[in-house]
Amino acid sequence: MKVWKYVIAVWMTIVIAAGFLIYIPEIPILEQTARNIFFHVPMWMTMFVLFLISLWYSIKYLNDANLQDDVKASSAATVGVVFGICGLLTGSLWARFTWGSWWTFAEPKMNLAALALMIYVAYFVLRSAFDDRAKRAKLSAVYNIFAVTTVPFLLYIVPRQLTSLHPGADGNPAFSEITADELRFILYPAFIGFIAMGYWIYEIYTRYNILKLKAENS
């Protein structure tokens, strides 16, 4: 195992512990749940990075038609969706105890995030529709390029134009001057840690899928 994986293991352990231990200022309504920012927000960042990796390999597949690139693209999308599900579930729990409801259809960011995941579910449905590997790889690569371009609009651009309970609405960046500065000391390391974790899981899943591809071809 490579060194960076040990580094991540230690890094993440510190981030999780520090996320619970650091002092945070008193914030009405949020109270201690302000700590959720260290866990909930990096889920979406990780998801987006994995979708970008997926986009990269989809473009690469369209250039060189190497099936291993298709495997990498679909593996990255799978792990990205896993992190997206984590983001949705954690957001839903957080909403229950701060906004008062598990889910509300009046909240744009929540619903559009679910829609973004649906677009990726459609990617896997599309993949399962083809028996021919080359055809599946080509069409899903094209679809994937469409899918990833919708994500920034659904998660960032559109919700910011609308009134919303979610931080980052009404044209504000999510982390603005109204958010306590202390949270940054853990939030940014948490971004790095979770993105690296996501990459690690993606790498393991890709190695498995490439081996499977080789086993099927031999």
Binding site: I16, G19, F20, P28, I29, L30, E31, Q32, T33, R35, N36, F39, H40, M43, V79, V82, I85, C86, L89, T90, L93, W94, R96, F97, T98, W99, G100, S101, T104, F105, A106, E107, T163, S164, L165, I201, I204, Y205, Y208, L211, K212, A215, S218
Partner: protein, 80 residues
């Protein structure tokens, strides 16, 4: 401030407000809601961490099973 913005965006508030924990009568809420709301909501953070852990664990188990299946397949191919 939070309550005002809630009223603007949340059309469900009127219909369901009396069922919400934040509404009057939270004391009679279920055991789960009461537990989660105790100690400045810290258990919500625990819940969020556990959700991430369980989802990743679920994924790990799935990949483990897939690898085991692939191993079986490769081993049986070699025996032939």
């Amino acid at each position: 401030m939070q309550e005002d913005s809630l009223a603007i965006v949340d059309t469900l508030t009127e219909a369901y407000s009396d069922q919400w924990a934040g509404a009057p009568g939270a004391e009679e809420a279920g055991v789960f809601v009461q537990f989660m709301s105790s100690n400045d909501l810290i258990y919500v953070v625990l819940g969020v961490s556990l959700i991430i852990w369980l989802v990743l664990l679920f994924f790990l188990f799935r990949v483990d099973k897939k690898v085991a299946k692939l191993e079986e397949q490769i081993n049986s191919n070699q025996e032939e």
